[in-house]
Amino acid sequence: MKKRSMYWRMVTASLARRRSRMITALLAIAMGATILSGLVTIYYDIPRQLGKEFRSYGANMIVIPTDSEHKITDEQFEEIKAGIPDGKLVGLAPYIYQNAKINEQPYIVAGTDLEGARKNSPYWLIHGEWPSQPRQVLLGNEIAKAIDLKPGEKFTLSTPKNKNESTQTDFIVAGTVTTGGKEEELIFMSLEDIKSIIGDKGLDVVEASVEAEQAELSQIVENLKQKDAALTPQMVKRVTASQDVVLTKLQSLVWIVTVIVLGIMMICVSTTMMAVVTERRKEIGLKKALGASNESVVSDFLGEGMMLGFAGGLLGSGMGYFFALQVGMSVFARRIHFLPAMIPVTVIVSIIITMIACSIPVSKTVDIEPALVLRGE
């Protein structure tokens, strides 16, 4: 009992008395631990974060009716919604297409859930605003140019009612949309608006943006197919296949960078520790001259190393999480997941590295004749 308390007194006193040197060592360890916990946290969170980022490519799954004569009903729409796991859905936009005329020129109206379309396609460039009131539309840029309409202006849309008659409805342009693709030649309005003009005929297509890799997505597609044969869900290959290719690359980039940085930092930490310990050859000599056994000298140093490693690891895992959080906020503007397992891992790795780094110089010095060391050789 006495022996143990003496041991701890020696260890703590040695740490406290040589404050500046110990702070140096602690800093080194904490830095290593920060990098360890920070990078590993980022590495684990990257797929999730980048996966979200890749959703800016727009919808990666579309559902069309199997039989082109049929439409998608509201119940089927709910089915699709239910088929996508909670929390994975970024946006879901049903579409109804309808021929219409403005000034006797033929155009196509797309009725959709505007909120869903907005989430699906963050790349749409809007001049003006998204429609927020009934009877407001988002006009494709090409149409806006062709018939010279600007946001805020009014126009009359005529839709066929039956063979020879047509319905005239007034709309206000809330904004125009530029994409470089087919959207520029469509007129977007809310589902309610289009249903109020042409009645409820069902949906032509449903576009979904799901936060999932190709494998996961094809599972969702399969399930949907199984559940309802009248629906044909498809992956948008261009988006899904390419996402897998690029995401794999980015992940392996972060992986290899993490490995290299960690490897080098760990060696750096060990050399610093080794330098700090080598300095204390005299102390080792003195202890031995007073009759300490080699084992007790080594265990003294290991005890110190362990405490340093523990403190440094703890400090580092906190700072590492803070760093990862900063990265998450500034790069992805999102919180990064906290990995509770990183704390013990960081602390244990720090302790192991410090102890290894201590034991190398100590075991070298321990065999030296105390007299030689004390004389200053």
Binding site: S56, Y123, L250, I256
Partner: protein, 427 residues
């Protein structure tokens, strides 16, 4: 005498100095590799993002995309506008020609397959077209590279096959066609029997069409030297404020801004330059690809910058720590020097010189090790080398210099206040 002291210190304290040099080398290699990777990663990721295909669409003025997809404006055949096939090579002559990765033309023909009552769209295009430009440059470009996500059963068509086609999976399923089957294509101009060389699955509308060489499609429609549309895949710089303003109206820029804009690889300036070389064309960025590319590129670069900063801080701390430890350890020797009459400045100067020499050696070794690490990253991840950026050398040099000098400041302060007798006495 000074030199002898330095050399003596360096050699006698071999293991100590070696350790400092080693740590400096580690720190430098880390900084070098991270900085190089950070600077090179943008280009590499940009290349990878080309997997998403074209980011620029070139169409004739007044052309409509819509008939592609919904077949609406087909009712009346108005005077179609075309682009000139001859001018395609010009795309590779624009200011940013080097950034044009791939491009391919499309020509649309309406054909009846096996006397089907409905028309099917036949798309004539380049698959792996070989071009020799006036500039002497040789170029292979086309669909095969642009549509990396297509799944092919059978084989791609060659550009000189004029009796082979590729069928979309939806079209093939609808008509019960398999690879190797023969079908008859007919237009008012021509009847031709062709073989299906491949069936593709693209996961989009294209699956309902037939693809063939450009020549075959033009022959079927009785047209020469025309195309409907060109898709271009270009490496671009993410848009900034200037690019956004220019995209809205290039004329709103001042002369100087315009020059900057024109000479930066923004997608809008590349579009502008393509319009200059293709008569009566409109080049539009496909925002789905162009915008997202910019997003992901910016995010990846920022991520690398932050990781780089962290590793720079880490290596700086590692180096300065060891330098401090190294100097402190030598207080006996320095006490002796002071006891025999060395001035403070002289002592400091000697120590700094030693450390700087060690730093230079370590830095030199570390720089090359760092380039090695960069190449490991480049080859492991992207399968190609990341060119070392020259600007990394001064950055790392300044960093090492500052860190070693700063690292020795606390030690030097201590040494200056050192009382020789105390130290020599062993206190």
């Amino acid at each position: 005498m000074f030199l002898r002291m330095i050399w003596g210190a360096l050699f006698r304290q071999k293991s100590k100095m070696l350790m400092i040099a080693f740590t400096i080398a580690l720190g430098v290699s880390l900084s070098t590799s991270m900085l190089n990777t950070m600077l090179g990663v943008g280009d590499k990721v940009n290349q990878e993002l080309k997997a998403y295909g074209a980011n620029i669409n070139v169409v004739p003025k007044e052309a409509s995309f819509l008939d592609d997809i919904y077949g609406v404006s087909d009712q009346e055949e108005k005077g179609q506008n075309y682009l000139n096939e001859d001018e395609l090579g010009n795309i590779k002559t624009i200011f940013w020609a080097f950034n044009i990765v791939d491009f391919t033309p499309y020509f649309y023909a309406k054909v009846k397959v096996n006397d089907d009552s409905k028309d099917t769209r036949l798309v004539g295009t380049w698959f792996a077209h070989h071009m020799e430009l006036q500039t002497g440059e040789i170029l292979d470009t086309g669909m095969i590279k642009l549509k990396s996500w297509w799944e092919i059963e059978g084989e791609w068509v060659n550009d000189d096959d004029d009796d082979m086609i590729m069928a979309g999976s939806v079209f093939a399923a609808r008509n019960n066609l398999k690879v190797g089957d023969s079908v008859e294509l007919s237009t008012p101009n021509l009847k031709k029997t062709v073989k299906i060389k491949g069936i593709f699955n693209s996961g989009s509308d294209e699956d309902q069409y037939i693809y063939s060489s450009l020549k075959l499609a033009q022959d079927l429609e009785g047209k020469k030297n025309v195309v409907n549309r060109i898709e271009v895949s270009a490496l671009t710089t993410p848009d900034n404020e200037l690019a956004r303003r220019a995209a809205q109206n290039p004329l709103s820029l001042t002369l100087k801004e315009q020059e900057v804009w024109y000479c930066t690889a923004y997608v809008s300036s590349i579009c502008y330059q393509i319009q200059e070389v293709i008569t009566d064309s409109v080049a539009k960025p496909i925002r789905q690809v162009a915008e997202s590319e910019g997003d992901i590129l910016n995010k990846t670069t920022l991520l690398m910058v932050l990781i780089t900063i962290l590793s720079l801080a880490g290596s700086a701390l590692g180096i300065s720590n060891l330098v401090t430890a190294g100097v402190m350890e030598r207080r006996m020797e320095i006490g002796l020097q002071k006891a025999v009459g060395a001035s403070n400045t002289k002592v400091i100067f000697t120590i700094l010189t030693e450390i700087v020499i060690t730093g230079i050696i370590g830095g030199f070794v570390g720089y090359f090790a760092g380039i090695g690490f960069t190449q490991i990253i480049g080859y492991r991840v992207f399968g190609s080398a990341i060119p070392p950026a020259p600007m990394v050398i001064p950055i790392v040099a300044v960093l090492v210099f500052l860190v070693t000098i700063l690292g020795s400041i606390p030690a030097i302060r201590y040494l200056v206040n050192l009382n020789p007798t105390e130290v020599l006495h062993g206190r």
